[in-house]
């Protein structure tokens, strides 16, 4: 197991290096630079040139890349050209919000999706099954962005049940311990802040959960159906084993293997899905920051964030593999 982890971690280095080169070249091919984004409508040519010089953007790409790489080794991601603050600070400020949102979304997807998929399979053809299958089709078809707008319009603007934007209400500020608002409120005893953070999470998390939920329902259903038809299930049942034991140990445990892989990959993709959802709800995570960084050609932020997301992706994959081998001993044998 340790070997597997070590090997995968080593594989990270060339992956990230390659990605950083591609990113750098790609960003340099984009028209425009940060100077006019900083200066706005009245920028003159001389001012743009001066800012480019101050920011080191007048040097060849490879010099800029070399400097960037050197800083990465010193664990310095550079400074955001939009905010004038270190990328790392911007990152630690915003990343918890996105993680909180993604975790909430995946929790909703798993907690609702797995039982729904399981019971849809067990009662194949029933109204529950039909609803689950068609509902999940709808979930995949509706763009997250549109659903987010719909939920916001109905539950925040018209009914006023949930707040329409932000991570916390005006004036509420949990003492920062971990950066995760819900958790910080619980840790510091400021339960109001936790509750407030949860109310702000509901709508964006539900919107963000729509696709993973649909995928999980369909995968669980298909997987359970497949396992139900296996010989060992029939054997176990015919042996007279407790039905509950058969369902949990034999059916669900085996059926969940592909679902776990999917959950891992879906979690990674949620980070990118968060860009739109966070924008709709002005959620203050990395998603909306990446969007404004693209507008402002904030290269250090884009390179740093995208590399980090890549890192998270790879690590999630690793976790999935580990989880997989824990559940299915056969994987460890190979």
């Amino acid at each position: 197991m340790l070997r597997l982890v070590a090997r995968r971690l080593l594989q990270l280095i060339p992956t990230l290096l390659g990605l950083s080169v591609l990113l750098f070249l790609w960003l340099n091919r984009l028209p425009g630079g940060p100077a006019s984004a900083i200066l706005g409508e009245r920028a003159t040519e001389a001012e743009v040139a001066r800012i480019n010089r101050a920011l080191g953007l007048d040097e060849p790409v490879w010099v800029q890349y070399g400097r960037f790489l050197k800083r990465i080794f010193q664990l310095d991601l550079g400074t955001s050209t939009q905010t004038g603050q270190p990328v790392w600070d911007e990152f630690t400020l915003r990343f918890p919000a996105t993680v909180e949102l993604s975790v909430a979304a995946i929790l909703i997807a798993v907690v609702v999706g797995v039982p729904l998929g399981y019971f849809a399979a067990r009662r194949r053809g029933s109204w529950l099954d039909v609803t689950a299958v068609s509902g999940s089709l709808l979930g995949i078809c509706i763009p997250v962005f549109f659903l987010a707008l719909l939920l916001k319009g109905l539950f925040a603007v018209n009914l006023g049940i949930f707040p329409s934007f932000g991570r916390l209400s005006t004036g509420i500020d949990a003492t920062r311990v971990t950066g995760f608002a819900v958790l910080d409120g619980l840790l510091t005893g400021e339960f109001d802040a936790s509750w407030d953070a949860i109310t702000h999470l509901v709508l964006p998390a539900v919107a963000l959960a729509s696709i993973p939920l649909a995928v999980i329902v369909r995968m669980t259903r298909a997987s359970v159906l497949e396992v139900l038809g296996e010989d060992y299930v029939r054997t176990a049942e015919s042996k007279g084993l407790d039905k509950r034991v058969v369902r949990v140990r034999h059916v669900l445990r085996n059926a969940l293997l592909p679902v776990i892989t999917a959950v891992g990959l879906l979690t990674g993709s949620l980070l990118s899905g968060a860009v739109l959802t966070e924008s709709v709800f002005s959620f203050g995570g990395i998603g909306s920051f990446i969007r404004t960084s693209i507008d402002a050609r904030d290269y250090p932020v884009l390179v740093g964030f995208i590399l980090f997301i890549a890192l998270v992706y790879v690590l999630i994959n690793l976790l999935v593999d580990v989880a997989y081998s824990l559940i299915d001993p056969r994987v460890r044998v190979h």
Binding site: A43, T81, L168, T170, L252
Partner: protein, 557 residues
Amino acid sequence: MRIFKSRAAGAVVTALAVALIATGCSSERDEKGGAADGAKDTFVFGGPGDPGSLDPALASDGETFRVTRQAFEALLAHESGGSELAPALAEKWSSDPSGKVWTFNLRKDVTFHDGEKFNAAAVCANYDHWFNWKGTYQSSAVSYYWQTIMGGFAKNEDPETPKANYKSCTATDDSTAVIEVNEPSANLPGGFSLQALAIHSPKALQEYAKQDATAKGDAITYPEYSQVAGTVAGTGPYKIAKWNKGNKEVTLERFDGYWGAKAKIKNLVFRTLDTEDGRRQALQAGDIDGYDLVAPADVKTLESAGFQVPTRDVFNIFYVGMSQEKNKALQKPEVRQAIAHAIDRENLVKTQLPEGGVAATQFMPDTVAGYSDAVQKYPFDTNKAKQLLGDADESGLKIEFCYPTEVTRPYMPAPQDMFELMKADLEKAGITVTPKPMKWAPDYLDATEAGSCALHMLGWTGDFNDGYNFIGTWFAEYDKQWGFKDKNVFAALKAASTETDATKRVELYKKANETVMAYLPGVPISSSPPAIAFADDVNPPKVSPLTQENFAEVSFK
């Protein structure tokens, strides 16, 4: 085992979700800002972007100034709701006949938020602080407005930094400050009203000086004091109490030691809502009490739902730029005139601008001193346009027209729709238009600034009421955006910029406007009144043509 664990977790989450819905999720907004007597004491305003810094001297963007304006005051200000210069920290001001020596009689009994006393020495400490900036502070990304108004620094580190125009500041007595410049400038006295030249507590300045802004590799890092409330201290009706960046929220508290009329509401909060729809919906949901940059299409909807949507007086100009350098046809005056005649400005104003919008005849709105009634006009006339194109031997003219996407500006509420109308007009006159949509920043701004778009649309909202702030910005010298070198135009503006007598200067601006419009470097299209929205229970501040609202005037009904 794992499965049971996730079931347990699921049960907890489901229970939470059920509880949330069962309690009707009594959101904070019901009791938001509730004071002991039940009156609301917190006003929340939604802006489109975060401020960049809490020290306005380091900034050049409206979102920063909107916040800092409530906490920092400059020597001069503008009358509430207008564009005329008015006393602020200086009760009176005057210049000598040379226009180089400016004397300010300062207000007495003014205290900074940190308890320091305001006096002439404090004024000079500020001006000298900016004048002596070094290193990264000399980058125009940091000190844009200082450089625009006062030129360079005591010791310029970059040969391209403009020559310093600031000479000295002397505190002749406790309440008289004398600021001297090397050359008279059209930017004065208007520049003394800018938020970027607002006066800070000398004690705070000493703290600022300890924290350098550093250029590190590929960006400028703003000093820490400008990012955290605590050190910054001005004299305004509010003091900056907190900047919660994670929640995109700046909180200001009423300053009880304020010299003037005290703010009516205790807490003022600015929250960032990136999208237009987001801001409107937050107001409709009751989560904010007001917001800026209202889409013209939303004005009617909001008004009919009972919201207040006052519009500001026009103080901006929207124009079609013509870049001559890379387009030979545009170098012919007849072609430029044909384009001007081809565009139906009145129709644009009627169909695209909010109520109060006006068609433009020159590169400044009629509210600016220097507006001339005698400029050459180019009324909508398709036949005349066709004839002019024929005269120039350009009847089959094909031209590229750039326009920005995904953006609205106060002067340009719906760029794409405005482009479509102008394209149709031009095509009626026989001009084939190749549309070139581009992303606003930095693509579009870069392309227009480099003069690589034959036709493009842009605009500008003024900083203060002086003609130079409009036409001087564009036509005082050769600029790639326009790509022309016309001695008459440059000379007309040069003369106006150094004239010290205000009355004579206004006359010179009128002449300059006439020269510019006779030459016709581009087509001024319209001026639009930007709207701002408030909830029905708010007594809004007087709206300002310069978008300089004073939130101390706000109260709840």
